[in-house]
């Protein structure tokens, strides 16, 4: 197998809090090959955004490695890291909060180009901005508009254009469509898939909505309280979900079809605290199948069929 474009090894990110260590990301391992998309799915507080930020070193890892083209970026010095930033970009969740309200569209898109000194001529930069706006489907007349004049879909297109400005290789997409209306959401998803094909991009697509990642991902990792509980190629995960949490997530999606009206309560309770978690399965408190064996010892991700990994004491064998 080729070297994956980006890979994490035993990646951990803990935050110190007044009440103890918060395990935001706890021992996560995965590889993303060039041109592929890894979908990362989980509920709020499961550490998926933290993971995204550690991946491109907006946050430093507590332990473990992030390998980009086989090299550990956590060991890079400041200047080395700065030159690498061009390759690693991020699109943020909230198009209302991630754009500076005092900068115009062209200023926002041109900023990374200026900061990284990719282009210096005023004219060249302007041309590049127009080119990017065309790529993401923004009308040229909006070049001097300010973010408040635009709707959510257009703002998110600016976020995409800004991320593309430096010709990145890898983009972390942190819930890029969850703040948008369905019809606009579909437009942005299609745009991102087209761009991936055209430019050979590699994505890590973070979302809480399984139905969104289904369309865009090649592989999906389901996270719960900082850990990856199941990882499989997309069709395998949807056809044959093994972990009880994955099953519950799939069942909880309201399907727009009257025949599948099922209002059973599949999962009770809420996500438990990620501060100093107890040993054993972190999902055990909410799991309908939990028994005493679940709360003892550390669980491993086991490969139950080719490329399908599950971490569960009962079903992961």
């Amino acid at each position: 197998m080729d070297t994956p474009l980006i890979e994490t090894r035993n990646l951990k990110k803990y935050f110190k809090t007044g009440r103890g260590m918060l395990h935001a990301v706890d021992d996560v391992n995965f590889k993303i090959a060039k041109g592929e998309t890894l979908g990362v799915v989980g509920e709020s507080g499961c550490g998926k955004s933290t993971l995204g930020r550690v991946m491109i070193r907006l946050l430093d890892a507590t332990e473990g490695q992030v390998l980009y083209n086989g090299q550990d970026i956590m060991k890079y010095g400041k200047s080395h890291m700065n030159s690498l930033r061009k390759d690693l970009q991020i699109i943020f969740q909230d198009p209302y909060a991630s754009l500076n309200p005092r900068m115009s569209v062209s200023e926002i898109i041109a900023e990374p180009i200026k900061v990284c000194k990719v282009l210096t001529g005023k004219k060249e930069i302007e041309e590049r901005v127009f080119e990017l706006m065309k790529t993401v489907g923004l009308a040229e007349r909006l070049v001097n508009a300010y973010p408040h004049e635009l709707d959510g879909g257009r703002r998110q297109r600016i976020g995409v254009a800004r991320a593309l400005a430096l010709n990145p290789k890898f983009i972390v997409c942190d819930e890029p469509v969850s703040a948008l209306d369905v019809s606009i959401q579909a437009q942005i998803l299609n745009l991102m898939m087209d761009l991936q094909e055209e430019l050979g991009l590699t994505y890590m697509f973070i979302t809480h909505d399984l139905s969104v990642v289904k369309h865009i991902s090649s592989e999906i990792a389901v996270m719960y309280l900082g850990q990856c509980v199941e990882k499989a190629p997309v069709d395998e995960l949807f056809d044959n979900p093994v972990h009880p949490y994955t099953q519950a997530l799939l069942k909880a999606i309201p399907v727009p079809n009257l025949k599948s009206r099922n209002m059973q309560n599949i999962l009770s309770g809420e996500v438990t605290s990620p501060i100093d978690p107890k040993p054993g399965c972190r999902f055990a408190a909410r799991c309908p199948h939990a028994s005493s064996e679940c709360t003892h010892g550390e669980l491993q991700l086991n490969e139950i069929s080719p490329n399908h990994f599950v971490s569960c004491a009962k079903f992961g064998k």
């Binding site: 709020s44 369905v182 019809s183 289904k214 799939l250 909880a252 309201p254 009257l258 009770s268």
Partner: protein, 330 residues
Amino acid sequence: MEEKLLEIKDLCVEYKTDEETVYAVNNLSLSINKGETLGLVGETGAGKTTTALSIMKLLPQKIGFIKKGTIYMNGQDIILKSEEEMRKIRGKDISMIFQDPMTSLNPVFTVGEQVAEVIKLHSEGKSKEEIEKRVDELFLMVGLPAERKTEYPHQFSGGMKQRIVIAMALACEPQLLLADEPTTALDVTIQAQVLKMMKDLKDKLNTAMILITHDLGVVAQTCDKVAIMYAGEIIEHGTAEDIFEGNFHHPYTVGLFGSIPDLTTKSKRLHPIEGLMPDPSDLPHGCRFNPRCPKCMDICTKAEPREYISDGHAVKCHLFSDDSSEKKEG
């Protein structure tokens, strides 16, 4: 015949600012029977929330105006009520759950005090003990331990805050509950819990509900009737069966369904509706959907379509007029 609880006829709501007039709701008519759930579906800016605020008479003062129309609740026109009368109706006969549970609770009062306030205002002569007992009952009803009523909103998670808001809304057993995107801010598993709880409570108390949402999945799981809004109008309405399984639809409804990422099919691309919602201060002539409509005809840009009804399933589109060749498609 089922009993009509709420009937809105030809409602027009405008927002006036110095520069422009926004036509938020245009000639909207809908009705809901006792105990029924109506799903009001549409995208941001379709006028869903404005409709709900009009029913509560909570439109922003001096900006929002009801220009035309009637809103009959139990046979009485709400529009003619004075502010003082409305205050007695809000929370008692009609109550509303707002979209964002994080901001709809007061951060400086305990959640118990906030639930108790509703009861205090609407049931004169209840002793302190009776009110406290009722608060405990309500907490139990929405699945929260009553001991936590002395805590403040920031000590609760999003799903729990929404439960508290629901407890407040149901405190006086209203006849009509307006739920404005009650689960949009919640995680899927919590959304499933809250929806199930709302449905159970609604059945228990026989409350009618207008569920405002943009998520057709949520509608399919909970609603009896569905109305689809676009640019301030209801462009299609009918029973849930008509909308989800019927054989003719408004092109916008077809587009909405096409935009939803489908879990069952393996196709990669989605089929969104091209373009954006029209600016409500500058609505297109004729049918308001015509600039985005894949089946737009000559007449669509000239005349506003009327409603074509068959068996209670109404569609507002020229495609279904009798002299059209492209009949009953979609």
